[in-house]
């Protein structure tokens, strides 16, 4: 199960914790939609994510592409080892861009 908490503001940060799988779509989408309204940029903090699979990754990619198409920059930070491993395996940076996932 995915838990989210948001530090609001013009540049909100959404802290993600738990598991990102098929079951996380609604909670992640709701959290991002609420935080992104009128935001200049949105930061997703993965420091609490213990598990992610291709469904969780797909939801993240879709959200990033949607926000970018609306002119809202997105940044992902503090990737845990499981998240980093899956993102590398699936070449997520090529899908969302280095602006979202900067090269370390």
């Amino acid at each position: 199960m995915l838990q989210t908490s948001t530090v609001p503001g013009p540049a909100p940060t959404i802290f993600l914790a738990g598991e990102m799988d098929l079951d996380c779509a609604d909670s992640l989408r709701t959290a991002v939609a609420g935080a992104a309204r009128g935001a200049q940029t949105v930061t997703l903090d993965f420091s609490g994510v213990e598990f992610i699979d291709s469904s969780g990754t797909g939801i993240f990619v879709r959200l990033c592409l949607d926000l970018k198409s609306q002119g809202v920059p997105v940044v992902a930070r503090n990737l845990t080892a499981p998240v980093h491993g899956v993102f590398e395996m699936l070449r997520v940076r090529e899908l969302v861009g280095e602006d979202v996932l900067p090269v370390a």
């Binding site: 199960m1 598991e19 799988d21 098929l22 079951d23 779509a25 609604d26 989408r29 598990f51 699979d53 291709s54 469904s55 990754t57 797909g58 939801i59 990619v61 879709r62 592409l65 499981p82 899956v86 395996m89 699936l90 899908l95």
Partner: protein
């Protein structure tokens, strides 16, 4: 891997035979949904009836046994002599060969891979049936997917089973765990239950993580594309732990690739199976229009 245009086909693989009006394949009776194929050539051409993309696997054995179907039904209209010749060459050269049957505009109609596997040759084919990926879509192409499948077969990481073989393999060893899967929330429960059993079998945390991920992918596929329910069984064989994930869905027909977003609110990226084949020691697959079974082996 070698890929080249193959212009020598006649019959069902003829490059100008697009789209097929009939395929004895998985999901044979399913028509594409309205709006599902924006950007496809065939839709632009106003084709009234299109079949889904379809995966076929045929098995060739030397010595007069000929070619039989493993995934999908055997099409009697296939140019069998050509298939046999290519399969023989793949076996003699001990290398797998891929051919893209392409249109003049480079649209790939069929991708065929001949993969030598010891005493036989597996022939994998995805027929695109005129479907194209959505423009700007982040999903993988069917050719990438098939190439990954063929490479996994060539490396021995993916084994393809017919109905009799899978019945034996899925029942081998001792049962450690059995769960019914019928909702997304079951994913987390399944991971926790499997993790506990893997720990009891002596797998260290790192190995458990790389085992749980592909099992989770397989269960997700079951929920999204396998009819929404099925079973997960964990079994212990002398040299390995095996997860058996089975459903009674429509089989591997790639409808998820061409359909718009589903219950998860997103279209399938096509990456789940890549994770499955790249993170396990051996994967077994049996798929037909009445269901799919995956064997996920971790050698211990």
């Amino acid at each position: 891997m070698r890929a080249e245009a193959w212009t020598g086909w006649v019959g069902p693989f003829r490059p100008d035979a697009r789209p097929r009006t009939r395929l004895p394949a998985t999901g044979d009776a399913v028509a594409p949904r309205a709006g599902a194929d924006e950007g496809s050539e065939a839709q632009a051409a106003g084709e009234a009836e299109m079949m889904p993309c379809s995966l076929h696997v045929y098995r060739y054995r030397r010595g007069g046994a000929g070619i039989g179907a493993v995934v999908g039904a055997y099409d009697p209209g296939l140019p069998e002599d050509d298939l046999v010749a290519q399969a023989d060459e793949a076996l003699e050269r001990a290398t797998f060969m891929c051919y893209a049957v392409a249109q003049a505009d480079d649209f790939v109609e069929d991708e065929l891979c001949f993969v030598p596997c010891g005493d036989h040759c597996e022939i994998l084919s995805i027929h695109t049936n005129g479907w194209r990926r959505h423009h700007g879509d982040h999903r993988r192409s069917l050719v990438e997917i098939l190439s990954d499948l063929a490479a996994a077969v060539a490396c021995g990481r993916l084994r393809l089973f017919d109905g009799e073989e899978i019945a034996v393999e899925a029942g081998a060893g001792d049962e450690l765990l059995h769960m019914a899967i019928d909702e997304p929330r079951a994913l987390a429960r399944a991971r926790r239950a499997v993790d506990a059993r893997l720990a009891a079998e002596g797998l260290d945390p790192a190995l458990r993580r790389t085992t749980l991920l592909p099992i989770s992918e397989a269960v997700t596929n079951l929920l999204l594309h396998g009819g929404g329910s099925g079973e997960l069984t964990l079994r212990r064989l002398p040299d390995r732990v095996r997860a058996v994930v089975s459903d009674r869905g429509p089989g591997l027909n790639f409808l998820n690739w061409i359909e718009p977003p589903d219950v998860s609110g997103q279209a399938s990226m096509g990456y789940g199976f890549k994770i499955i084949t790249e993170n396990l020691d051996v994967v077994g697959l049996h798929t037909q229009p009445d269901g799919t079974t995956l064997l996920l082996d971790r050698i211990v």
